[in-house]
């Protein structure tokens, strides 16, 4: 069942490119090769079901060893005090905040891929969004370590949150550091919700494929009893859209807020308005680099060339080129403004940074890795050769770490007063803590690969040519070729080497055991629950549902491995009301944020900090936004679960011998016994008459 994965070197099969490209250009499918719903399910699920390849265990040993080092370093820090780090006057922020900003930045690519590309209908994201979202979550976990430990009193970490407490004190809502906390925790929560909602159909697939009872129970609980009902899909699709909409402003806001930690201070090198866009571009840049860093080895190790194609890597490299150049522009503009502003302190900092300072080497490492090296991506070969891309993204990851190091340490070591200048020397605890972060990140990544589907199966199935009723199949010898019989571009030749896509199947695969006409369920009532029939493909099911509607049935449901367009109308349902819940959540969050901040800062415990007024509402805006998004996300999740009637761990339909295909490659129509026109024999005959297979009536 393993799809063939021809390994060809880029550009090997192209003949000379034609002078004029054919119009329209043949569209290259997102998945290369003759994959079907079944092969994709099998290819992805198999990774989590079979023992891992030999290298997995040594890799896990190394990463978990590093993680242990990090845990020991943190334990030593907490038991001894922050003095074990090299941070001290004047460089009071050093490796800790460098690593924090580095990891927060890494997360941004995942959210961009999962949210912004979703809203822009960039369907190529389906192959990489699960992986990138997982990386977002792991990166934010790595970052989240630092606010917890960097003040040395871990047991007071809950002081960061505005919880009613026995001290009767609350945070200063006018502080950029508190905005940061809200931004990062909202970001983590929404990313986790988004990731989990995306996982639900795939967890159900793993449950339905599971052979062992423990896997059935674990994935059964995690998937909340998802079975691919169209009544659920219609809420699910809208919930996913809502979450994408909520995540989109987060991509832009999180690193903007992180940059405020620096930009709202008066330190030369930090006090600049270019920081928010500069940080966001850098975050997406670094994030894409890390996605490729993990994706390229995983793609090779698990032979995912047909799903994560060379085109995916190519497009991500273009993202790197664009964001890298944006970051490079910001570097140059910082220098220019330092000179143009005529501010001697600013200029001193930048001369020291780029020319004659203690950290000039770090600045040029940053410039080389982030600005100069990514320029190779103007060349196609460089974008389409995985090992070379891996090399470049490694440089970028190093460069992005140095960017934060330069901004933080270099700016701090020279401030206004020459008497307080000083250098920073990391201690072994600093190094161990930093390596520990990488250990944590890659340990989580390895566990994710081991236990969860790393590619969103349900989403990939929906973008297969066979899921598209309007896809025009050409004969194999003309596949992706122009009128002149040649491949219009090198990419067409690369894709065509994997073979043409498979058409949808026309017959229902046989059941492994005979399907009785009436299927009893455990603890059954003796009454029928309804009738069920299987169909060969999505189009057949759609037509069957329409036929059943015309016949007068109303209590219909269609069960599909992915959301089929037009199916909710075919079973007589309309648009989901879920956005109302999202709106209610957003308004609740906004009202909560307004009340919380004004009440605490102007009435409950009025304090003057930084000479600002009690009612300095401008400073409350970031948390208005964050809490709006946070509450909207929670309401969306609970509305999805509630409107779908989940969790529904037991369902009579599970007794049907082939129904487990509904989350893999099967298409089912059910007519429930609550339907006024339902009659055990007539309905069963009707389902047979419209082409249904494996027809049965299920006991309630």
């Amino acid at each position: 069942m393993t799809p063939t994965t021809p390994i060809i070197s880029p550009g090997a099969t192209i003949t000379a490119a034609p002078a004029r490209l054919p119009d329209p250009l043949p569209r290259i499918p997102l998945v290369w090769g003759p994959d079907t719903y079944e092969t994709i399910t099998h290819q992805i699920s198999r990774i989590t079901e079979k023992p891992q390849p030999w290298w997995w265990w040594p890799a896990f040993l190394i990463t978990s060893g590093l993680l242990t080092g990090g845990v020991l370093a943190a334990t030593y820090l907490i038991s001894t005090g922050v003095g074990v780090w090299g941070s001290n006057n004047p460089v009071n922020w050093a490796f800790d905040i460098t690593n924090f900003v580095f990891w927060i930045g890494i997360g941004h690519a995942g959210t961009l891929i999962s949210a912004i590309l979703f809203l822009f209908r960039q369907k190529w994201r389906t192959s990489i969004n699960r992986f990138s979202e997982a990386m977002t979550i792991f990166a934010v976990i790595c970052a989240g370590v630092y606010p917890g430990i960097h003040v040395g009193r871990f047991w007071y970490a809950w002081f960061m949150f505005p919880l009613p407490n026995a001290n009767h004190i609350f945070q200063n809502f006018r502080s950029a550091l508190l905005w940061d906390l809200f931004a990062v925790s909202t970001y983590f929560t929404i990313s986790l919700i988004f990731w989990y909602v995306g996982l639900i159909p795939d967890l159900a697939t793993l449950r339905d494929r599971a052979k062992s009872r423990s896997r059935q129970v674990i994935f059964g609980l995690l998937s909340l009893g998802w079975r691919g009902s169209t009544r659920h899909w219609r809420h699910y699709e809208v919930a996913y859209l809502m979450l994408a909409g909520l995540s989109t402003p987060l991509v832009l806001s999180v690193h903007s807020v992180v940059s405020f930690d620096f930009a709202t201070s008066i330190l030369p090198g930090w006090h600049t308005t270019i920081f928010p866009p500069y940080f966001v571009a850098g975050a997406i840049f670094g994030g894409f680099a890390m996605v490729l860093q993990c994706m390229i080895p995983a793609r090779a190790a698990y032979k995912l060339h047909n799903l994560v194609t060379i085109k995916h890597i190519d497009v991500m490299c273009k993202f790197l080129l664009a964001t890298g150049s944006l970051v490079g522009y910001a570097y140059c503009m910082e220098l220019f403004i330092a000179w143009y502003s005529g501010n001697p302190y600013e200029w001193q900092t930048f001369v020291n940074r780029a020319w004659n300072g203690d950290y000039t080497w770090a600045y040029w490492v940053m410039m080389t890795c982030n600005l100069f090296i990514p320029q190779v991506f103007w060349i196609r070969w460089c974008r389409q050769t995985p090992w070379f891309v891996l090399l470049v993204v490694t440089c970028i990851n190093v460069g992005m770490w140095y960017e934060r190091f330069v901004i933080i340490v270099q700016s701090l070591h020279h401030d206004f007063l020459p008497a307080s200048w000083g250098r920073y020397y990391p201690t072994w605890v600093d190094w161990l803590q930093m390596l520990g972060d990488f250990g944590l990140f890659f340990t989580l990544t390895l566990l994710f690969i081991r236990f969860l589907p790393m590619i969103a199966m349900a989403e990939v199935k929906a973008v297969l040519p066979m899921a598209n009723p309007h896809y025009h199949y050409l004969p194999a010898d003309r596949y992706l070729k122009g009128e002149d019989g040649r491949y219009p571009t090198a990419d067409h030749a690369l894709a065509a080497a994997y073979g043409p896509p498979a058409p949808p199947r026309t017959i229902v695969p046989p059941a492994t055991e005979p399907v009785p006409a009436f299927i009893p369920t455990p603890e059954g009532t003796g009454q029928p629950w309804g009738a069920v029939a299987e169909f060969a493909n999505a189009q057949d099911l759609l037509h069957a549902a329409q036929a059943a509607r015309q016949h007068g049935y109303t209590h219909l449901d269609a069960w599909t491995p992915f959301y089929v367009h037009g199916m909710k109308e075919a079973i007589g349902r309309t648009r989901s009301r879920l956005p109302l819940f999202t709106l209610a959540g957003a308004l609740t969050g906004l009202a909560a944020a307004v009340t919380l901040q004004f009440y605490l800062m102007t009435y409950y415990y009025p304090t003057i900090v930084g000479g600002k007024e009690y009612r300095s509402w401008e400073a409350f805006v970031p948390i208005f936004f964050e809490m709006t998004v946070l509450f909207a996300g929670f309401f969306t999740l609970f509305a999805l679960i509630g409107l779908c009637g989940l969790p529904r761990l037991f369902h009579p339909l599970d007794a049907h011998p082939t129904f487990h295909r509904s989350t893999q490659d099967g298409f089912f129509l059910t007519i429930e016994a609550t339907d006024p026109r339902f009659d055990v024999d007539q309905t069963r005959d009707f389902l047979r008459s419209i082409g249904g297979q494996h027809v049965a009536v299920i006991e309630r």
Binding site: L163, N165, A166, L221, P522, E523, G642, F650, A655
Partner: protein, 246 residues
Amino acid sequence: MPQVFPKALNPIAKVVVLGFPLLLGSAGLTGAAFYRSSYATGVDEILPQPVAFSHAHHVGQLGIDCRYCHTSVENSSSANIPPTKTCMNCHQQIWQGADMLAPVRESYRQDKPIEWNRVHNVPHYVYFNHSIHIAKGVGCVECHGRVDQVNLTKQHATLLMEWCIACHREPEKFLRPRSEVFSMTWTPAKGGVWQPEDFFHADSPEAQTLIGTPRPTTQQELGALLKEQYKVRDRVTLTNCSMCHR
């Protein structure tokens, strides 16, 4: 696929998932209740002491003034633990052979202080000063409770910051005339007349007009008047961080 879960699990699973926020909330409330419980704060906990000293006997029955032993309470940040000499002022005359007082005599003989276990332990980052509270008319009883009724010394208040803040926000609810600070039984309803020692400057014209006249008998009126007389600062200043954390 066979059925994995029993039918009865469906409603249970729904309750668990939708009850999850409730679970989190109640976990938080439990934590908050625990944090304030006498177990965590040490309220009413009786620590073992070298001598079973009874405030109820010395203060309640004999009527010894607080300042007889805690001499520095009016002038210093700390209300001192008395030296053994203070005990011996009386106990070389009475109960001089009592077994109970053996550690006191031993301490006196060897010139070594008795090692009491500390009952009221305010965190080190709080700069608490007894003298200013006494000077501004905060009675001993407000924080230490009815020590005249307590046999073995124990903590009366939680000493949590919310407890400090409650008074710093509304000091007028807790102020009393300076001459009543050491009284265990005073209430505003007892009234009485203004004494010269109720004022910082008994010879000031304002004090002169008040001395001898009846005091207000409600805490509301009395507190407002005392707050002004004693120049107790406003709520924002009193709750400023640097008031207690320096």
